[in-house]
């Protein structure tokens, strides 16, 4: 058999060229957005009942290109544009899920998911319960969220609290490339509705991740579960920073700076806001005895408030200081020029670390 020659370099065989390309690929950093895109594509391959729709997700591939190429590859019946109506998108997804599909729908931006809130709160969250388990709604609502990208008003909300407050919904938010892939696959395979929050400032972030290997492990059911599982993003011993989504990188930055001053901070990435992993969070706090909860969302009546309450209820006797919060102020999101004053920064986190009653 004569080996075919590579068209790119006629001096090497096609097989060698493929191997070289693959090796190069493995060393290529992958963006967060590409991991999400690959998770969607792999889910479409794995399960015929998966359908993707929303505003501009077809031909354009989404305003953030997360659905890029899916219509071309899988056809307009698997990935398509809808009329501009968020309640319509969610409501139609409910009906499709009732009738055997697994819809994965995109809300274009956090604040533009609000028109759909009635469908989410009254039906997506309750259908299983109000039918005594007869109807399940396996559907994913993807929401690009949070700030830090210079977006204008109505494009930077951290709206996770509304959904986390609603029983019947699961709420996930990945903070690294590997989780972007694995958590979206898990969300799509979940028999419960998942609101999947994608920190939009991470879409272009890159990490060295072998997506093909991740996919093989996931399909072989060898990957560790992420639902209900927080992740230790950085091991430490002096205090615990509890955070999620867009604030994980800020917390890691703060931990790095603190290390230079000899303070060793542990960073816990919640990942799955609902269901919440009390075990991992509380084990860390009991070990360190100090904790700060960090989130972009306004602090009043927020996910951060809930975490503080849970930690003090469970870890009171291990605490050396009150559990503090570093969150957005209780003001409308000040996009875009003043957002830096609103968002939790590494400096603000370090100020909070200073207040953890070290002298005691």
């Amino acid at each position: 058999m004569t080996a075919t020659t590579s068209r790119v370099n006629p001096n090497v065989s096609a097989a060698t060229a493929r191997a070289a390309a693959k090796a190069a690929n493995e060393n290529q950093p992958v963006t967060f957005g590409k991991a999400l895109n690959t998770a969607l594509a792999d889910s479409l391959v794995a399960d015929d009942s998966v359908v993707i729709f929303g505003e501009d997700v077809g031909t354009l591939g989404g305003v953030f290109r997360i659905t890029d190429g899916l219509t071309a590859r899988f056809g307009p019946e698997r990935c398509f544009d809808t009329p501009l109506a968020e309640s319509g998108i969610v409501g139609m997804a409910v009906g499709m899920a009732i009738n055997g599909m697994r819809p994965v729908i995109e809300m274009q931006f956090d604040a533009f998911a609000y028109p759909a809130f009635e469908q989410v709160a009254s039906h997506v969250a309750k259908m299983r319960n109000r039918t005594q388990g007869k109807l399940s709604l396996p559907m994913v609502i993807r929401i690009p969220y949070a700030g830090g990208v210079g977006g204008v008003e109505h494009h930077c909300d951290s709206s996770e609290g509304y959904y986390a407050h609603t029983p019947g919904l699961k709420v996930f938010t990945p903070s690294c490339v590997e989780d972007a892939y694995l958590m979206l696959r898990e969300a799509i395979d979940s028999d419960d509705p998942v609101v999947f929050f994608e920190p939009k400032k991470l879409y272009w972030s890159k990490e060295q991740v072998d997506l093909e290997q991740l996919a093989r492990d996931y399909d072989a059911k060898k990957s560790a579960k992420t639902e209900g599982q927080a992740r230790i993003a950085r091991a430490g011993s002096d205090a615990t920073l509890i955070t999620y989504g867009p604030s994980v990188s800020t917390a890691l930055e703060a931990a790095k700076l603190a290390a230079e001053e000899g303070i060793n901070l542990e960073v816990v990435d919640v990942r799955s806001i609902v269901p919440f992993d009390d075990d991992t969070v509380c084990t860390s706090v009991r070990k360190t005895g100090r904790a700060i909860v960090i989130a972009e969302a306004q602090g009043f009546a927020s996910v951060a408030s809930e975490i503080v309450a849970r930690v003090q209820e469970r870890c009171f006797h291990s605490l050396a200081a009150p559990v503090l919060r570093v969150t957005g102020f209780d003001i409308p999101y000040p996009a875009p020029t003043l957002e830096k004053f609103h968002l939790p920064s590494a400096e603000r986190i370090l100020d909070a670390v200073d207040q953890l009653q070290w002298e005691a």
Partner: protein
């Protein structure tokens, strides 16, 4: 589907009837009405029909089947109102006066077809085949809908107005993507047509060319607010044209006309001609629910005026005059209705056997650690109560 393609589809349909796309989408000049209030058949030129808006009379067997369901529906409405008065049912939004609409909405459907009802549509749900006690589960104050929606192809009765219309669109869309033959009837009231989801559902159904029939029971009021304060449209059926679908008005107390219109609508939808909007003119003879006082917003004389248009007496008179309804048939129909009423009385007179522990079981597919803890708290409370 592009806008041109969608309108092209409407042009194709209208050609079948030899009329313009506009004449196809706009409702006929008059509402479709086959029977006079006294039960006599109206002359053909007074039925409201027009070229392209013609509705063949249902067969005698079909009419008899519908009449039996109508009598059963009336009996159930009145039985339930009585059970509410006796404190055996928590709340009941009666459809007394609207039973012809309810029966037609369910009877026009085939085995693979779905119904999406509201809180007012218990008689439609019953006619779709759901067991009487299961239909009334939520009204007796239980926390769930009481029936398996998939088994009956009947969604839980929806209270958040018009939200269910979008679910109907989704069910039809899923079926279409899989190449299945499924028509969906999605119901709502006149007031509900003001809601945003009404608009979104009709638009989605038209754009995706889905076999959904939007069936609006215009009973003139949304609790206390009359239709004139909901809409300035020439009629609710006229809203169809704005979405690129056909609309029609029908006398909602004329079971014959309803059966004729809904049967054609289902056939049209099944043949791939897209969604339709049907507005049925009817009247809510009783208060919004037992908790409402309709004396505060309407004159008794107005209510009395509608007694003469009652759907049950009208259909009965027609069938008797046509020699279809014998005394024997009448008593069989009444007995069958009484069986259902008795089942409801017996069922409601037994205390509901609910277990508060179950409240945690169906929130998620697998109970979370947190819900397991909360359930244990409640169980502990219950145990201490028993001890």
């Amino acid at each position: 589907m592009s806008a041109e393609a969608t309108f092209g589809r409407i042009s194709e349909v209208s050609k079948k009837f030899g009329i313009t796309p506009e004449d196809y989408m706009l409702p006929a000049r008059h509402m479709i009405n086959l029977l006079n209030p006294d039960g006599s058949l109206r002359p053909e030129n007074e039925q409201g029909t027009e070229p392209g808006h013609e509705y063949p009379l249902p067969s005698p067997a079909r009419l008899m089947e519908a009449y039996a369901a109508l009598v059963k529906g009336r009996r159930v409405n009145d039985q339930n109102s009585a059970l509410v008065r006796q404190g055996r049912m928590a709340v009941y939004p009666s459809s007394h006066g609207q039973e012809a609409c309810q029966v037609a909405a369910a009877l026009c459907l085939g085995e693979n077809d779905w119904l999406f009802p509201t809180y007012r549509d218990t008689v439609a749900v019953l006619t779709k085949g759901v067991a009487p006690m299961e239909v009334m589960t939520s009204f007796r104050g239980e926390w769930h809908c009481g029936y398996d929606p998939k088994a009956y192809k009947c969604a839980p009765m929806s209270t958040p107005l018009t939200t269910q219309l979008l679910h109907a669109v989704g069910v039809a869309h899923a079926a279409k993507l899989r190449g299945e033959d499924t028509v969906v009837v999605a119901m709502c009231g006149d007031g509900a047509t003001s809601e945003g989801d009404f608009h979104e559902a009709l638009n989605f159904a038209a754009v995706f060319n889905l076999p959904v029939i939007f069936f609006v029971q215009n009973n003139k009021y949304a609790i206390s607010v009359p239709l004139s304060q909901q809409s300035a449209a020439p009629s609710l059926a006229h809203k169809a044209v704005g979405y690129g679908m056909a609309g029609e008005r029908v006398d909602g107390n004329d079971l014959m006309a309803l059966m004729a219109i809904m049967t054609r609508a289902v056939r049209m939808a099944r043949e791939g001609n897209g969604p339709l909007l049907i507005e049925a003119h009817t009247y809510r003879m009783q208060a919004h629910t037992n908790a409402d006082d309709d004396k505060r917003y309407r004159e008794d004389s107005e209510v009395q005026g509608w007694i003469a248009k009652d759907p049950v007496t009208r259909m009965k008179a027609y069938l008797e005059d046509a020699g279809l309804l014998t005394d024997a048939a009448l008593s069989t129909i009444a007995e069958d209705a009484e069986v259902v009423a008795k089942a409801l009385r017996d069922g409601m007179n037994q205390d509901a056997n609910t277990d508060p522990r179950e409240l945690f079981e169906h929130v998620y597919s697998v109970k979370s650690t947190q819900l397991t803890e909360q359930q244990a708290l409640l169980v502990d409370e219950l145990d201490r109560e028993e001890a």
